[in-house]
């Protein structure tokens, strides 16, 4: 058996799995997006040409939801990266002594998003939210009803991202920590001997060497945050007045609650294409450049 044939044979199970579990559903999704399909009557399909796509691309509601998805992703990702990197640097500085810190820090990762959503909903909700009572006790706000985290249309999108940040900062921290551990100590030592300060060593040596790790974090967490559904749904169901509605929520409602498979598929296809493009760009921009470092 030739080496190529052996390689193909070894890859065949994985390829078969991908074909059945990934490629086929995606092709089905794209196919459905050209039809009017009702969830309860999938056999009665009507060909619509590009009507579903025209509706999706001209809908102000979907454009708003897409914009909110972007804002939510950037906000959540920014704080997850900042907090995660700070925590990772702290763990790295502690060395082996950070074992317990890392374990405790990773605990939110074990919490299901649904549970986290409910937990934060009750932490933030105006009338009974503990957060506001805490802030009022610290005199940061005048009284517990001063900030309406989930009711104020101007801040609700950011408030619903708190549990996302809480849940996944530890994931970012652990990945970045692993990346920091892999940076050769002699490189850092050389920078130190050359007179680089701690900040310079971090910004000029460690951060550039972390680029591949950050690329993975950005792509994995970015895609994950962009398709967040359960966390927001549990807290606000997209309200008030759609101000926390993101694309995945719109797709869910249209597909499951309203049974409009065709238009939901078109929205999902556009969403998928956008995510692929963004992931490729992120990969090329960050990882591609890291090869030259």
């Amino acid at each position: 058996m030739s080496q190529t044939r052996f390689a193909v044979l070894m890859m065949a199970p994985a390829l078969l799995f991908l074909a059945v579990m990934v490629a086929y559903p995606i092709l089905l999704l794209i196919d459905n997006s050209f039809y009017h399909v009702e969830l309860l009557k999938p056999a009665a399909r009507t060909w619509l040409d590009l009507d579903n796509y025209i509706k999706v691309l001209t809908s102000q509601r979907l454009a708003d939801a897409a914009l909110r998805t972007g804002r939510y992703t950037v906000f959540a990702l920014f704080f997850e990266l900042v907090f995660g990197i700070v925590a990772a640097v702290f763990f790295d500085a502690l060395g082996a002594r950070s074992r317990w810190h890392r374990t405790v820090f990773a605990l939110p990762l074990m919490v299901s998003p649904i549970v986290a959503g409910i937990l934060w909903r009750f932490l933030l909700i105006d009338q009974v939210g503990i957060i506001n009572y805490g802030l009022a006790a610290l005199h940061l706000i005048p009284d517990p009803r001063a900030v309406s985290w989930l009711g104020n249309p101007d801040i609700v999108l950011y408030a619903v991202s708190f549990p996302d940040i809480w849940l996944t900062t530890s994931f970012v921290a652990l990945i970045v920590f692993a990346g920091l551990q892999n940076i050769p100590r002699d490189v850092i030592e050389a920078a130190r001997i050359d007179g680089a300060s701690a900040v310079q060593r971090f910004l000029r040596v460690r951060l550039p060497l972390l680029r591949p790790v950050l690329a993975v974090v950005l792509i994995v967490r970015g895609v994950d945050a962009a398709k967040t559904f359960d966390l927001i749904w549990i807290q606000t169901e997209g309200g008030p007045n759609f101000q926390s509605e993101v694309l995945s929520m719109n797709i869910y409602q249209r597909m499951i609650r309203y049974g409009d498979v065709g238009q939901a598929s078109a929205t999902a296809t556009v969403f998928l294409a956008a995510m692929v493009v963004l992931a490729v760009l992120a990969y090329r921009f960050i990882w591609g450049r890291s090869r030259n470092v």
Binding site: D126, Q127, D143, R145, S148, G239, Q253, I256
Partner: protein, 422 residues
């Protein structure tokens, strides 16, 4: 001889293949948690009496809709009975076996008119009510019977303090009980709550104001901008925006939050689903102090939106006869489920058998509210969920921002609903 044997064997095979489906010894019932606990005692008795076992498949609330939809779309279903929320009746009506034979005159006489009306979609009896709920008025007995409060109320409003029965009394009591009890200059007791995440409390007031229906009339015309809807929206928002008799942040207040506030002693009254009467936590500051009264009345009298759940037989069921037998039995023995945590039933007889028992004081107000002439179910149209999500709830939340022009909001909602129905 050989040919005859072959013919005989073929006939036997055909008769086996085309013969009736064998009687089931087990039927599968799709249900959410509350409905499971209500129906389990009935199912146990049913199994004893008929030998047919009942296997409940319990899923979360939304799972009932999701699972049943998926199975019906696939054309095969393991479920012989599905217990569904009334708001899904129109969606599943085309996929449900008719239950006409079960709706005898005796049975019809044992149901509130609104529940009976919701059992039919396009003239076909689709579902049998298994339990029914409606908003009634919960109030703090300790506050309403406090002599100091009574005297202060009479001095201010000129009539005796009592659980309100109409809009005027409700508004007066809500304003009166909004009190600063600890002297910090801010109210820490509110008269009531205003729910912005679910529109049913507002819809009840629409019926109380005399609208022939909520959002749509019986012919399917969009009537969300009629005078009664506007009057109800004005009254609903006034409690928050004009009277400040409810906590701020109403847009995010849903049923859970409203219940929490009442149990924490933050509100003196709550318009809420009747089942909550038996769910006051023992460690709540209001435990043992909760009273129940019928829903308040507007120009058209008492009215509420019923929240019934119905048993249907999916057309894909393999054991339709046994399923219908269970459904009929469940209604006939409806009272068996009342001891369950949800503590509800559908038939008048079941409620009446408990109304004088201690701990079930809410049944009389519930029955009175359900039987009120103006009480009416939500429109049975397949797009109802979309109408609520996309037009009604957002409109209500904008109204509760206290900045919007209410007639314009209703007009915009009408346009949005007409778009959904097209």
């Amino acid at each position: 001889m050989h040919a005859k044997s072959l013919l005989g064997a073929s006939a036997l095979a055909l008769s086996l293949a085309a013969g009736p489906v064998l009687a089931a010894d087990t039927i599968n019932v799709l249900v959410e948690a509350g409905g499971h606990s209500l129906q389990q005692p009935i199912a146990d008795q049913f199994t004893k009496d008929t030998g047919i076992k009942v296997n409940f498949v319990e899923v979360p609330y939304a799972g009932v809709y999701d699972k049943l939809s998926a199975e019906l779309a696939a054309g095969t279903s393991n479920y012989d009975v599905a217990t569904i929320d009334v708001i899904w009746m129109a969606k599943f009506a085309d996929f449900a076996e008719p239950l006409d034979s079960l709706f005898t005159d005796k049975l019809k006489a044992d149901l509130a008119p609104a529940l009976l009306a919701d059992s039919q979609v396009k003239g076909k009896w689709v579902g049998m009510p298994e339990w029914a709920n409606a908003d009634i008025l919960f109030y703090r007995k300790d506050l309403f019977s406090d002599p100091k409060q009574q005297a202060a109320f009479k001095a201010k409003y000129g009539y005796e303090l009592a659980p309100p029965t109409n809009w005027k009394q409700f508004e007066d009591a809500a304003v009166f009980f909004t009190q600063d009890t600890n002297g910090d200059g801010k109210p820490d007791l509110y008269g009531t709550d205003v729910i912005g995440a679910n529109p049913e409390e507002w819809m009840a007031e629409v019926l109380q104001a005399g609208s022939p229906g909520v959002v749509l009339d019986d012919k399917g015309n969009v009537i969300i901008d009629n005078a009664a809807h506007l009057k109800a929206l004005q009254f609903y928002t006034d409690i928050l925006c004009k009277d400040h008799a409810a906590p701020e942040g109403a847009t995010q207040v849903d049923w859970g939050a409203a219940q929490n506030m009442f149990y924490q002693g933050q509100t003196a009254m709550m318009k809420f689903w009747a089942h909550a009467y038996r769910q006051t936590p023992a460690d709540s500051v209001v435990a043992g102090k909760v009273g129940a009264a019928p829903m308040i009345a507007g120009d058209a009298g008492i009215a509420a939106i019923p929240g019934p759940w119905y048993n249907i037989v999916p057309s894909t069921s393999q054991h339709k006869d046994e399923a219908k037998k269970f459904i009929a039995y469940a209604f006939e023995h409806n009272a068996l489920g009342i001891q369950a945590p949800l503590g509800l039933a559908a038939s008048n007889a079941a409620y009446l058998s408990y109304e004088d028992k201690p701990g079930y004081e809410h049944f009389k107000p519930l029955l009175e509210t359900l039987a009120a002439p103006a009480t009416k179910g939500r429109p049975l149209v397949p797009q109802w969920q979309e109408i609520v999500d996309q037009a009604v709830t957002p409109m209500l939340q904008q109204a509760l921002s206290c900045k919007a022009d209410l007639p314009t909001l209703l007009k915009n909602a009408k346009t949005a609903i007409q778009g959904i129905l097209q």
